[in-house]
Amino acid sequence: MKMHVAVHPRVFRFRPALLPTVLVGLMGIGFVVAVIRFVAGIGAISNLSNTYPWGFWISFDIYAGIAISSGAFLLAAVVYVFDLREFRPLLMPSILTALIGYFMEVLALMVDLGRPERIFNMLFFQNYTSHMLVVGLCVMIYLAILSVEFAPVMLKRLKKERLAQFSRRLMRPAVILGLVVSTIHQGSLGSLLLIQSAKLHPLWWTPLLPVMFFVSSISIGLAMIIFESSMSSRYLQRGLEAHLLEKLARAVPVALGVYLALKFSQLILSGNLRYVFGSGVQSALFWAEIIVGVAIPVVLFSSQRNRRNPRLLLIGAIILLVGMILNRFNVSWFGIQRLENLPYFPSLMEVSISAAIFSFGLLVFGLAARYLPLFEDAEVTTAAR
């Protein structure tokens, strides 16, 4: 077992000064493009059209972005519901990832919505048959909950010990409420597609979409925690909680197995299994997602030797994430059948918006890792051992 190398936050140092420069540059480009959008309209910077009202932003920033924010609710459940305290060192970085992830989603929505200045209309005019309302409210509520969950770290940094103590006591109720909200949010992104039964390819459309989304978000969350911890240990010079990651990785084949069983039994029962071959690009995308997102990770994470190898652990997590992000792209973009056979490919400016938002997130995480007691739980546990 690899031991902790506890490094004090103060000695953190970004190895390459190049990276922050590139990130800030990308943010600058994105800012300029966003200004063009706010002056001249969404059509001026994107290839979106009446045929493709949703495109790269929705698939990448919203569908993939929310999926990879699922590490927070998983760890919150592990630590606060199942009381497995050994996982605490991983908790705050995951909550921060989700907090930043959800904030990134809001930024993306500000560009993507036609009338971003009216976002709070969702609080005043509510249509209770709309899954979009659920998605919107979940984002708002979960952002608030994540802020509460992250408050202890912030307050500690600000040396408000009393308040920090108080905020820690809010943790458990906040976590349970957060679990409910994020479960619904993950599922409701699937529910959004229920109404597109006439458009979404039968390989993906099913009344079980919300369930599929939630179940797959569990494996995505596990992979994301592994990915994020591995990257932090590489680039922020911190110890790797290899034994914890190994334990989390054990759950991956289980979570993916449940997902796979659900997916195929649904296809068989609905009679749509026939589409898995011979539906051209759709069949190919389906198999790509199943092989990369499910089959390879299951095989890789089933062996303990692989799970104990930090390199393979990281590689497996990346493969799973790529496959599952493809799944999110499939359901929200590639799998949607259009009446007109027009091609859509995102414009460079469209991608630059997402790149800028992503850079922003990465930079904020880096700064937080440097200036906030984000990993302090790690030292506590190391000392206690």
Partner: protein
């Protein structure tokens, strides 16, 4: 036409000559640029082999569904169905999320892609010329149509007329009135001599596509309450169990060491 209970259009593709006068009329009546009217013409292109050539066209616009999916989908309730037929839009509520464009199985609502923050991007679609309905006139496209391909009136009567036309000329028409049952019924009824998909119309069953979505929606709150209760129960159970274990452990330690045990 205040006596009408459920306004509807009947379009007969065998009578359409692709003159696009309906688009001009729509553009003028609704004060929208000609390339942005609420009507767009779809069609089959030239079909068949010489000398048996066929070509069909159709002015495509909002179907004014009886169970509209845009109304179900809009988060802020900007879309609504008026009792006498038209599906209408409250521009003040709209946040521009464009979910209605995805939800609509006919992909009808269109968006202002060229408007920024000051311009105020909104959704657009056919309103059944509600301003004309109010003063007892037909929609502009219907009034303008030179061949009578478009007709406006009471939905039930138009359905009866459509079937009568099919019966009178079974050789001329496909034996189906599109919109009679599609998506739970629409207020734009279509007769055609070519398969409806050639006119750009999707194949949609009689059940409104919003039904599954709304069924899932009705489960959200019960699920939230149930899930919250389960999680609270599990958390409480695990805590109680851990506490008990710690107590048992400290008691055993105490009995061995002869002093109160340490921390959990």
């Amino acid at each position: 036409m205040p006596s009408i209970k459920q306004h509807a259009y009947l379009f007969d593709a065998t009578r359409c000559i692709d003159c696009r006068a309906c688009m001009i009329a729509c553009s003028v009546e609704n004060k929208v640029p000609i390339n942005d009217t609420y009507i767009w013409v779809t069609g089959s292109g030239v079909m068949g082999e010489y000398p048996n050539l066929k070509r069909a066209t159709m002015p495509y616009h909002c179907m004014h569904c009886l169970a509209p999916d845009c109304v179900s989908a809009c988060p802020v309730g900007a879309w609504y169905k008026r009792e006498d037929g038209p599906v209408l839009y409250d521009a003040d509520k709209c946040i521009g999320c464009r979910y209605c464009m995805n939800a609509c199985p006919f992909s009808v609502p269109h968006f202002d892609w060229d408007k920024g923050l000051l311009g105020g991007a909104l959704m657009h679609k056919c309103t059944m010329c509600q301003q004309r309905l109010e003063i007892g006139q037909e929609p502009a496209c219907v009034q303008t149509c030179p061949t009578g391909a478009l007709k406006f009136g009471e939905r039930e009567e138009l359905i009866a007329e459509a079937h009568a036309r099919i019966e009178a000329h079974p050789d001329r028409y496909i034996d189906h009135v599109y919109g009679e049952i599609e998506n739970g019924g629409t207020s734009y009824l279509i007769l055609s001599h070519v398969p409806f998909r050639e006119l750009g119309l999707p194949e949609i069953g009689p059940v409104p596509v919003k039904n599954v979505s709304e069924a899932a929606m009705s489960m959200t709150i019960p699920f939230a309450l149930g899930w919250g209760a389960v999680l609270t129960g599990v958390a409480a159970g695990v805590q109680w169990n851990n506490k008990r274990r710690a107590e048992v452990k400290s008691q055993t330690t105490a009995s061995i060491d002869g002093e109160p045990g340490g921390e959990q």
